[in-house]
Amino acid sequence: MSASQSAVRSRAEAVKVSRTFDWLICFTLFFVILGGYHVHFMLVAGDWDFWSDWKDRRLWVTVLPIMGITFPAAVQAVLWWRYRIAFGATLCVLGLLFGEWVNRYFNFWGWTYFPINFVFPSQLIPGAIVLDVVLLLSNSMQLTAVVGGLGFGLLFYPGNWPMMAPLHLPVEYNGMMMTLADLSGYHYVRTGMPEYIRMVEKGTLRTFGKDVAPVSAFFSGFVSIIVYFVWHFFGRWFGNTAFTKGS
């Protein structure tokens, strides 16, 4: 067989090869995205995602969607504009969540024995599905950034609240009031993390009284719009084939 001849001899064989290729790419893509996104997320969201006593109604709500929309935007750009595949964002957040769970379970619990209820990751799946569907329905980067990006920020807090609410029950402990999340942070000693490092409840949203989380979520959504644009273009640039021969 010469180099110019096809490796497949029938349509059935071509379909089979194509499907094998699909699974190989999906598997590889999942783990490549997992690796890159996970490192990125640990570096930029880090402690806000690691510990339940960092998951406040201001900075956690603000920081995580902004830092979380990055890879979904870039991967969407590649998969949509080159393949019309509408699951880029969902694939990213599933990869991230899988990587986070491996990290939390084996490192945080298995290695250093922090209880899972103190170190579980946040989940970004509802926002990612909405982001993908907006792109699918609109075929527009601008609309996806504005509607999907805003949705990504807005859905984060309510999407995680069912897991967080039980940790925000108040406790009276030796004459002071804390939440169960605060108490976990106090009980389960982190030698390298003194309390003052914890960046929670800092900011200037006091005029909104107790209803701070929705304001933070809107702000997060607005910034997510901008971040979506930037990372979408990263994705487009990264996914171009200008450097390959004959493209």
């Binding site: 699951f87 599933l94 406790v171 002071m176 030698t191």
Partner: protein, 414 residues
């Protein structure tokens, strides 16, 4: 020549294998907290921990022990270290092998950061509940914002039993009693699995049809519009609407299930009460101080004035948690860690009682291998060559009085 090259390559490969294997089999546990690697001046001139007591050497899982004592915030705090205006009383243990059931400074619970004053002395207590079996080095520790951790002396404590027996019962203000060790874990697993399943179902819809190759061919052929069908859009819309409805419904049901929740608590605790120390009746002036490198000894010439009404003797010099004692005056019976205790490490040229009103100049030598072992000798390489520490005088009734010293230090290399 080729034969020699091959042999060298083979041997190098074998050597590499042996090295890797040896490294795999010899992996000793890290058993301390790097206290020796902290700059000597930082340990000598910031926080002085003293009168420390570890209530137990061995403790079963679920049982408690305390670490108590005092710390003096040194008035001659080095300029290069941020002042302890925002500090946190921590405990130096390898992760949550104990839980910190309580920590107090001056009787005030300090789960948050505190503001401390230079020159003041504070009493502290840390209550620990044993969680994970093993031998653990338990240090007192204070973190200073922008200054880093300042670690105190550490002592080995053994935890016995099984971690599976550990419980952490807490009663909330809503009246529930829960085990914080396991609380909410099933709920977390459920919601993560639930959303993961929805995410997989969404991707599953797309990957049930050929994904990459035919789509790329169609895109290159300009048939992008043919790749998204009306069904695709309907299914996508269905997923989006279902997602929004589920998020709204679960938020609502969670709020109904937990109507009372509070935000995370944070903030600096000010006004921490220091110990009201009795007026000092002993005054000490450091006339000179040298560190003799070959002898691992610090020699000080001190002029001591006793302004009290009872004669006193110098019994102890303590710096960076290392205690140098004159056994004729003071013996330790608190079980202080051996490696930090030089029981006969203090020599005073004339240590007869200094009578009330008397002034005496004495030569004091603090010598022990601890200078080297604890890398305190490194202070001769500091940019600001000073030493500092606490002197403890004992009067006729056995009362101890603490006096701080802080003076330039001249190294002696011969």
């Amino acid at each position: 020549m080729k034969l020699i090259k091959d042999k060298v390559a083979k041997l190098s490969f074998v050597a590499l294998l042996i090295t890797v294997t040896a490294a795999m089999f010899y992996a000793p546990a890290a058993s301390a907290h790097g206290e020796k690697s902290q700059a000597a001046f930082m340990r000598m001139r910031t926080i002085h921990w003293y009168d420390l007591n570890w209530s137990k050497d061995a403790v079963p899982v679920n049982d408690t022990m305390t670490v108590t004592g005092k710390f003096h915030v040194f008035a001659g705090w080095p300029e290069t270290v941020a002042k302890p205006e925002v500090s946190f009383l921590n405990i130096g243990i390898p992760g949550p092998v104990f839980i910190r059931a309580g920590s107090w400074i001056g009787g005030q619970l300090v789960p948050r950061s505190v503001s401390l004053e230079l020159g003041e002395t504070y009493e502290f207590k840390v209550l620990l509940k044993a969680r994970r079996p093993g031998d653990w080095h338990v240090h007192s520790m204070l973190n200073v914002q922008d200054g880093g951790p300042i670690i105190g002396p550490g002592k080995w404590v053994t935890i016995t039993g099984s971690m599976s027996q550990f419980t952490n019962p807490i009663t909330t203000l809503t009246g529930q009693t829960i085990d914080l060790e396991h609380w909410n874990i099933g709920n977390i697993y459920f919601w993560h699995a639930f959303w993961y399943a929805i995410g997989l179902a969404y991707i599953g819809y797309w990957v049930k049809s050929p994904v990459f190759v035919p789509r790329l061919i169609a895109m290159d052929a300009g048939k992008a519009d043919s790749l998204i069908s009306a069904t695709d859009k309907k299914v996508g819309l269905g997923f989006a609407i279902a997602t929004l409805l589920i998020v709204a419904a679960t938020m609502q049901s969670t709020n109904e299930q937990y109507p009372i929740t509070t935000p995370l608590q944070a903030g600096l605790l000010r006004g921490i009460k220091s110990i009201e120390m009795p007026a000092r009746t002993v005054a000490v002036k450091v006339d000179s101080a040298t560190y003799r490198v070959p002898g691992r000894a610090m020699q000080m010439t001190l002029t001591i004035t006793n302004n009290g009404d009872s004669s006193v003797r110098l019994g102890e010099f303590m710096t960076a948690s290392v205690r140098f004692l004159d056994p004729a005056v003071h013996e330790d019976d608190t079980g202080y860690p051996d490696d930090l205790l030089a029981e006969e490490g203090l020599t005073v040229s004339d240590n007869s009682p200094i009578a009330p009103g008397q002034t005496r100049t004495v030569d004091v030598t603090a010598s022990d291998a601890a200078w080297e072992v604890y890398r305190l000798a490194d202070l001769i390489y500091d940019p600001d060559s000073r030493f500092a520490g606490l002197l403890f005088f004992t009067d006729e009734s056995g009362n101890r009085q603490m006096v701080t010293v802080d003076a330039p230090l001249i190294p002696s290399f011969i």
